[in-house]
Amino acid sequence: MPQYSIYGAPEFAMLNVDLQPGEKIVAESGAMVAMTENMQIKTSSRGGVLKGLKRKLLGGESFFQNTYWPEGAPGRIHFAAGAPGDIIQATLQPGETMMMMSTAFICSSESVQLDTKWGGAKGFFSGVGLFLLKATGPGDVFMSAYGAVHPVRVDGTYIVDTGHIVAFPETVQYHIRKVGGIKSLFFSGEGIVAEFTGQGTVWLQTRNPNGLAEFLHPFRKVERHNN
């Protein structure tokens, strides 16, 4: 059984994974921080070629994922996400599913099935190329949060700003809406919210990537137009 430990939580969490020969782990492209020399890597495209192509055209999330395994002796590999924050570990039972933001996925055991579920049509995202990733057990899934992890036990209904959602189980349903009236729609700065109904734990992150993007936007260089 792979051994997992999390270092640097909750600020800049990094996942340490110890693998025995024969054990594998599937990770998001770019997530590897360091590893023992005997770790092998295989890069492959995510399931669903057509879906993959659509994603590639839209940009954002990568088309590829990496499978790592140790050769000849036990190996150690460290993973971290791009965003500053904590790591959530979810151990899924056979058939149990977890929906997560595509950008939150770090790695999972080989036995976890990963499917892309297009979230754009449902108005979930304001960014291009973002989608919902569906993970089905058995196995462990590790997700990154931008900020600290704040679990909310939903039993009835609860409203969450979509930028703060990391993951949620299939036992809750969501409905996208705007908060407040028309005036609020334009001026509240609250953006899109999700109203969750049902029973289950929704995983929130205490920072919103859109907020960071908005903050950094004026600091970007302006594109030069060449004619």
Binding site: G30, K42, A83, L130, E214
Partner: protein
């Protein structure tokens, strides 16, 4: 000189108290606060002196800026005549600060953007890693700290110490610093397909015995993560 580092590991800030006659060199832009009356001298990064030295310093600083993500300037703070002074220092990115004693014969190699401050007789030199480091992909520019004194190094993310005894592979964007006793080599990860598509690009292979400090976040990955959410 006394110092303390507060708010580890994410928003670390160093508070350095200087006695009369002492001074501290600080990466430009890193001053948070200071006691009244401190003298400040702004210099280009680099250590040579004389006319040609100044030209050389300029180019060293310029190359660091282009490849290292670091500014070209260093500020030297010293307290007013006969008085004690205090400087509060913090880097631009969120993360940790560690202090290291630099001793003769035990150089520390630092990733350029990790240099924060130094006190005493510490010389910071640009370590030419050859073309390999230029193509490190993440602008892996390394500095060598030699001499005797104190060195403050910052990280983006938390700092994780690895005691290398044999070999270890690290993504170049995650290197903070390492002891000079380690050999390092930039190489591809996996096969060609992996090099282009794995998102890992080039990695650094460390060999030998010594301490290696890595950071748990990578600026390149932050950019990659944030880009889809940026307005055009």
């Amino acid at each position: 000189m006394q110092h303390q580092i507060l708010y580890k590991p994410s928003y670390a800030m160093a508070i350095v108290t200087l006695q009369p006659g002492e001074s501290i060199d600080v990466e430009a832009g890193s001053m948070v606060a200071m006691t009244h009356g401190m003298k400040i001298k702004t210099m280009f990064n680099g250590n040579a002196s004389g006319f040609f030295g100044k030209i050389w310093n300029f180019f060293v600083a310029l190359s660091r800026k282009i490849f290292g993500g670091e500014t070209m300037m260093i500020n030297r703070y010293s307290p007013p005549e006969g008085q004690v002074g205090q400087v509060y220092v913090a880097p631009a990115l969120t993360g940790d600060i560690i202090q290291h004693k630099v001793q003769p014969g035990r150089d520390i190699i630092i990733q350029s953007s990790s240099y924060l401050a130094s006190v005493g007789n510490v010389k910071i030199k640009l370590k030419w890693g050859g073309l390999r480091s230029l193509f490190g992909g993440e602008g892996l520019v390394l500095l060598r700290a030699t001499g005797e004194g104190e060195l403050w190094v910052n990280s983006y993310g938390a700092i994780y110490e690895i005691d290398v005894n044999g070999s270890y592979i690290v993504d170049t964007g995650h290197i903070v610093a390492f002891e000079n006793s380690l050999n390092y080599k930039i190489k591809r990860v996996g096969g060609w397909k992996s090099t282009f598509f794995s998102g890992e690009g080039l990695v650094c292979r460390f060999e030998g015995q010594g301490k290696l400090w890595i950071q748990t976040r990578n600026l390149g990955q932050l950019v990659h993560w944030l880009t889809p959410m940026l307005p055009s």
